[in-house]
Symmetry: C2
Subunit: 427 residues, 2 copies
Amino acid sequence: MKEVRIGLLGAGVVGTSLLQLLDKNREKIQRHYGINLQLTTIATRSPGKLQGKTNVPVTDDVLSVTNRSDIDMIVELIGGTDVAYKAVRSALENGKTVITANKALLSEKGRELYPISAKTGAELGYEAAVAGSIPIIRTLRDGLSSCEFEVICGILNGTTNFILTKMEQEAWDYSTALKKAQDLGFAEADPTFDVEGIDAGHKIGLLASLAFREYVSFASLSVKGISDLQSLDIQSALSLGYRIKLLGISKRSSAGVLTKVHPTLVPLDHPLANVMNESNAVFYKTKEADSGMITGKGAGGMPTASAVLSDIIYYATRLGSKDIAKENNLFPEAKAFPEPDNLVRYYLRFSTVDKPGVLAEISQVLGRHNISIASVQQKESTSEPVSVIVVTHGATEGEFQKSLQEIDTMSTIIKQKTVAIRLLEKL
Amino acid sequence: MKEVRIGLLGAGVVGTSLLQLLDKNREKIQRHYGINLQLTTIATRSPGKLQGKTNVPVTDDVLSVTNRSDIDMIVELIGGTDVAYKAVRSALENGKTVITANKALLSEKGRELYPISAKTGAELGYEAAVAGSIPIIRTLRDGLSSCEFEVICGILNGTTNFILTKMEQEAWDYSTALKKAQDLGFAEADPTFDVEGIDAGHKIGLLASLAFREYVSFASLSVKGISDLQSLDIQSALSLGYRIKLLGISKRSSAGVLTKVHPTLVPLDHPLANVMNESNAVFYKTKEADSGMITGKGAGGMPTASAVLSDIIYYATRLGSKDIAKENNLFPEAKAFPEPDNLVRYYLRFSTVDKPGVLAEISQVLGRHNISIASVQQKESTSEPVSVIVVTHGATEGEFQKSLQEIDTMSTIIKQKTVAIRLLEKL
């Protein structure tokens, strides 16, 4: 039987879940794939923590593992871009297959790592790096390999989707929902990466690169997170028939690839609107097969470990095969372009004084900028500021920016900066 | 560059779409996969119809293609189980990779074909046989290969989902909606395979076999279609918060595998409820990664052809590789078991006379069989029969059968056979 010797780097939540899965599935993998997965050694910062949990030798020296000649495959679950980078680089240089769940590493250092992988022929699997248990990487590489993608987008960060769900369902403010996510282990002590959209940005960049076979760098993305969203906007959007989701969106046209992350009002009848809690979803549109969507658990030790193990199995079956084409990650750079002159729609919440004629003044400015109003909502209020909520029809991004600048300086009627959130565009 | 020589059998809607896709993608496939796909010959019943549409030699002799020693891969798009069976059998015996979109063939003849494939090492790809453009076969084989499946189910027949959508949205009766589907080319002149659930049965059997790695035969399925559904039931279910979908459902427990096809009331907040028109969806639940769902176009020439082409690419990269484990289709037979004694729920529509006390008599019978009522709906009516609609709480299948037998013989109050439709069970 083919034996594949594995070195595991990192033994946190995902790493220890993977240890369980490997134990449980060893015999099944032998039976179904004719492969004996042999976990040879584990490297972790605190080897003592694994005492009694495994019979596999444990070390704290990562590079001693990636340099071992008797290891075929390195599974990197350290995270971050420092030690993980050195380890993955070393493993690829040594010709070892690398399986990683590290989206930050690939997003920030992929352009350095992919050429090494291409040179030594070491394959690089990263199913677990994007959208947890959703097998979107395999789907892009194999399942939909014949398709020409026009759009790929999705809910790619479980933490922020959980926070948005709680802000809606419990009417909590942002900080209460964040605290809950931290208590449940869904959010880090420093939540910046998640809540500011950086993690989603890393992921949509990786997905767009694979879907379009053009490299979409993180630097080319515009990224906006959810930390300034208010419960009031989430509830108001809902009453207008929309749910606010943090979406990563990438669209390809003849002008190039437009990729971005921002909170978005999604119509309730769109399938992305009904993806709740820590679930993730990837929505795509192709020329040949129209649109489709995959949903699943986006976070958690076991869902992520199962994606790692599926990757291990896939690349283990390919390991040592000389006559199979290696997978490609070296795509030409995509031509990024800023928001084009397409018509976009906005949800606008104006915080105004409570006096007659305010709505007339606002709508005059909007009208001068060719922005027409689709719906207006103003609830009775006993204190200022009064919230006037407008959902617009389509206009250009430029006209919106100009009109909001103008309105926000009308100090006789406007009490606070206007909140503007994009509606989901036609995908 | 690796050259893969292909023989195409069948040049109907999917076949001619595939010809277009092959032409359009040839250069891209060379660039991305290092494979030159060479369409060598086409076999079709009416070679004349292809005149002017292709430069590839055309024949009407299927076996002359499968017997050619210079062909590596056969793409079978003939359909049915007669000529297609002979052709696929011949191709596999000759050691050629076979790509097929033919679920009936695999469902009815798979147990004869798989051993030939295993013996000669010829691989068999059938992504396009199930759920059109949804890459569920690759997902089960690779993307979720580490997962232990508990449930797989879905909307697997585009024709019936289109008919159900029209019956709801246009309030059409079944035969009007079927006619429309036939006019649009979504339904065959003889729609039996689709509307009686046979096609969905073939597909859920194939999916269950792959998900559980146990062979689920079509003979072990219970299958019920949509041809006796009435618009009234679709509208009534909707007003109660459910949408009626034709689901293929397969569940695995220690007792065995339960697989079936029947119309099902799906709660509107379940993701399967919002899959409309000719779209398909596959919902699954695994021990490691909880639940997930994939949606996409379930029918149509181009979506199906794109699934065929993705399969061609996948198996072309593996062709000729001696040291890669062949995929397995030879699973041990699943222990099938009938509906267990779990509690199930029903939507019941009683057609009754218009007199006092009817509901009391019905609910007495239900009560004697331990069936309690969750909700009742009776609209004012000017003519008999009156429709009394009951949604029940959970009871055993046996108790339902007994109580309905009893009620339907109460000729003083019941005018027509009671309509009983299952609610979606806890998955």
